[in-house]
């Protein structure tokens, strides 16, 4: 029995929030269906932001409804505030993710309010969730710029841990620690993730890495060392942050699955089917920058074979 590790596809949300092409809802849903067929079970399918802020997500309701009807998929959505959360709750989305920034300056740039105000907003979202009848809706709480910020520079580890503890106390079902701008290094990831896990135990803690400075998979490895077993990733390494100029996207889904499987974890996903899906998604997004090593170089002959097993 191999230990499980989870890769959550965030391409239909984080991956396309800055691309030039507005993808039709049908293609967003085809992407989700393809990912499910490749063994991905959790997908952040859209964002409930106002359409005038990010036109890509004008069809959030339609995509969420399509995803909710998809067999084998556990969809989540991102919400920027209570209003977005209410829209998601009304549709019956089972997992709703909220994000604030550990960096005050990044939070102001992103949502025009202080980190404290964003924390209070999360408390209101959790209260609204608790008042709903029926099955408990899972609330994910993301901490952006947890490893540093392009605007303000270093972010203290103590502050990130404190925010995680407060979010946990307010009713988060998962803490998602995000390296929004690709500043994290493996030493920092090991320290901070160990501290966050210890502080919010037994709440699950996930990581959201960007590969801006080539350390995305080194950071996944470091987070595994610290005990993290869930990772956001985007097919073809799509994604980006408006406040991280020159940045590349999220860590690549195919490469992340490859690494986890190669290290002996069971992700449930099939790298080659993901690569085939990636080719399709690439064809829908002309002019974008795609990254990822396995799509270029292929799997090694030693995939899933521990070298030590060979005589």
């Amino acid at each position: 029995m191999r230990e499980k590790a989870h890769v959550r596809e965030v391409g239909p949300r984080d991956g396309i929030q800055m691309v030039k092409t507005i993808l039709p809802s049908a293609r967003k849903l085809a992407w989700c269906r393809g990912a499910v067929e490749a063994g991905i079970r959790e997908i952040e399918v859209t964002s409930f932001v106002p359409a005038k802020v990010i036109p890509q997500f004008a069809d959030a309701e339609e995509v969420a409804r399509g995803a909710l009807a998809m067999p084998g998929l556990r969809p989540s959505v991102l919400v920027p505030n209570l209003k977005g959360a209410e829209r998601a709750f009304a549709l019956g989305v089972p997992i709703v993710n909220y994000v604030l920034s550990a960096s005050e300056e990044h939070n102001q740039a992103n949502v025009r309010r202080s980190t404290e105000e964003s924390l209070q907003d999360f408390a209101r979202i959790a209260a609204a969730r608790d008042q709903r009848p029926g099955a408990r809706i899972g609330l994910g709480a993301g901490i952006a710029t947890a490893f540093g910020c392009t605007i303000s520079g270093a972010v203290s580890e103590a502050r990130v841990v404190e925010i995680a503890v407060r979010l946990a106390g307010m009713g988060a079902d998962e803490i998602i620690v995000a390296d929004t701008v690709g500043y994290g290094d493996p030493g920092q990831v090991r320290r901070l993730m160990g501290a966050v896990i210890a502080a919010v135990r037994p709440l699950p803690v996930a990581c959201h890495f960007h590969d801006t400075r080539g350390l995305g998979l080194a950071n996944v490895t470091a987070a595994l060392d610290a005990g993290v077993r869930a990772f956001d990733a985007s097919l073809a390494g799509l994604g980006g942050c408006p406040f991280a100029p020159g940045a590349t996207g999220n860590i690549d889904t195919e490469d992340t699955v490859f690494l986890l499987e190669q290290l002996g974890f069971d992700t449930g996903a099939d790298v080659e089917r993901l690569v085939a899906l990636r080719r399709e998604v690439e064809s829908w997004l002309p002019g974008e920058r795609f990254s990822g090593a396995i799509a270029r170089a292929g799997l090694p002959k030693t995939f899933r074979v521990s070298a030590s097993a060979a005589a």
Copy 2:
């Protein structure tokens, strides 16, 4: 006092052995000079292979002589056999590196003989070295395909350790464990490097990684965990192996220095000067594929600043 870690530039050897442009000796030496000015102290400057095998190295003597005259540089050269070693010894090169493959099939493809025959050749090179008067010439012994082989697949860790022990017994001054085709993963790197270091202690052990499948810097981090403190790398991620189709090159020098410094090690090198040098080298090699994240995204604001130090 930060702990030291060494990045050895192998671009003028491994980096250009497959490029389309034959670089003039003056440019090879300008590359070396630029690297020294950026703080790199060890450079594998050329290869003493027959010019008819790799025309790029027809000027090996001239480049080696120029490098030997360069203040602040500790040059090494690669030699494929005793004949090449004799050429290097005659010039007074202080460090001579030899390489054989742990994979029989790769060794046959590369040098048309068995790994055992290559080991015997190394014994003859070491004996020839020992008979020379004057300062002892350092012999580096590289073990290629130590993490697997595109031809034969898995390579057993026991075999790599055994080869390392034999090379050490024959008079090697350093063991260089090479992931020639980019098959290594961080788990395997930690295991194998720990085993090799324990088996040949106190002989120094270095790593030579290729970034074929995006795990180059994750593997550097894993090797650091195992105690490795010396890494081969190539400016702009140049390099490749004729038996690794689709492969990208060596790990990128600038990115490797960035990672090591970010983790708190002292490399003595300056990332921004390396990026400037890289731009120059790129301009000399039209049509080649260059990789590397720092040249694209820049250094983080938190470079060398531990996030935990900020309040």
